[in-house]
Subunit: 205 residues, 2 copies
């Protein structure tokens, strides 16, 4: 009997403590990324890239670029989730399989590529925003998928993006948007922190 | 018997067609927002705001600011999900209930407020990035929660942010990051569009 999505959302915490003796198979890591890529992105850009940092050596380099947060090494895997710029230039190949499968037609493909080019070419802020949106949507999907597998996770936006890019040879078009640690929880994690009442953040119009 | 998180992620599609005759209660809309706010945010900033656009009049104004996409009016609710700037200035009250509940201690609160002030004050790009991250994490959580309730959803980043801000009296610190339509699906929605193979977007290091 698996948990409902409500239970998964309610039970997810941002975990600082991981059982560093428990690793994850590459099959599990791939499955987490596969599920993350089922997140939506504008035009189905899929403008993301996932570095799964699993070796002790690479974890230490990532940790050094992220205010030395120990959970990066303790977690079984620390993902660097990137959003990519110039997504419009890769839209045709990103959509081609959906055309071949009969999900969208060629005319839609051409229309979308034209629309994406029109709005994205020369618009650095929109490209960056779209990279942040896509990577964040994928990161959230990955964390909830992990929770459903009985794994703990934590998103980190506190890191030196330039250092991460340099250490992990990211292309200038690849923006490291979020780190996400995933592994088996150890004792001592906080309960989920409290949230503002809904009426403070919601307005019905 | 409810669906697993994997099934929810795999079955979610970006829906264009909604049964416009089926509404959602304000309780259901509030529950969607409550679950969305259980998404993580840096320091538990909770730097987001949700406008639930449900009236015909407001939907038409939103639709006009979003390339006249019909699904905005057809869906039972179209959310404007905003991320907010200057999150550091609101961190103390955002964390106070977690201190009062004994989840984090006063020293942690003071440390986090100091860290957030140090990194965010005067850093407009980081503030904007954090607004995009938080709103996107919440949006993804909301869409998966909706899917778990048997509802269809669609994220939209194609809209005129200035027009949305003007029409809905958003404060200059409130950035409309994403629109999300939610309602009961009508016939004719696309299947989930295909994704790139995992090995094309993942690298293990």
């Amino acid at each position: 009997m698996h948990a409902s999505i409500q239970e998964i959302i309610e039970s997810r915490v941002s975990a600082n403590n991981y059982d560093s003796s428990r690793k994850l198979s590459e099959a599990t890591i791939s499955e987490l990324v596969r599920l993350a890529t089922l997140a939506p992105s504008a035009y189905n850009f899929q403008n993301w890239k996932f570095l799964a940092v699993v070796s002790d050596e690479a974890k230490l380099r990532l940790q050094a670029a992220a205010f030395n947060q120990q959970k990066i090494s303790d977690a079984a895997v620390s993902f660097i989730i990137c959003g990519t710029l110039n997504a419009h230039a890769q839209l045709e190949p990103a959509l081609r399989p959906s055309v071949d499968a009969g999900i969208i037609d060629s005319k839609t493909l051409a229309t979308w590529v034209g629309m994406a080019e029109q709005s994205h070419i020369g618009n650095a802020l929109l490209q960056r925003d779209e990279a942040l949106r896509s990577a964040s949507l994928a990161a959230m999907t990955l964390m909830l998928a992990a929770q459903g597998m009985g794994l703990a996770s934590c998103p980190l936006s506190g890191f030196d993006a330039d250092a991460v890019s340099r250490e992990f040879d990211l292309h200038t078009s690849e923006i490291p948007v979020m780190l996400v640690t995933v592994g088996y929880a150890a004792a001592g994690n906080w309960p989920q922190k409290l949230r503002k009442p809904v009426q403070e953040v919601m307005q019905v119009v």
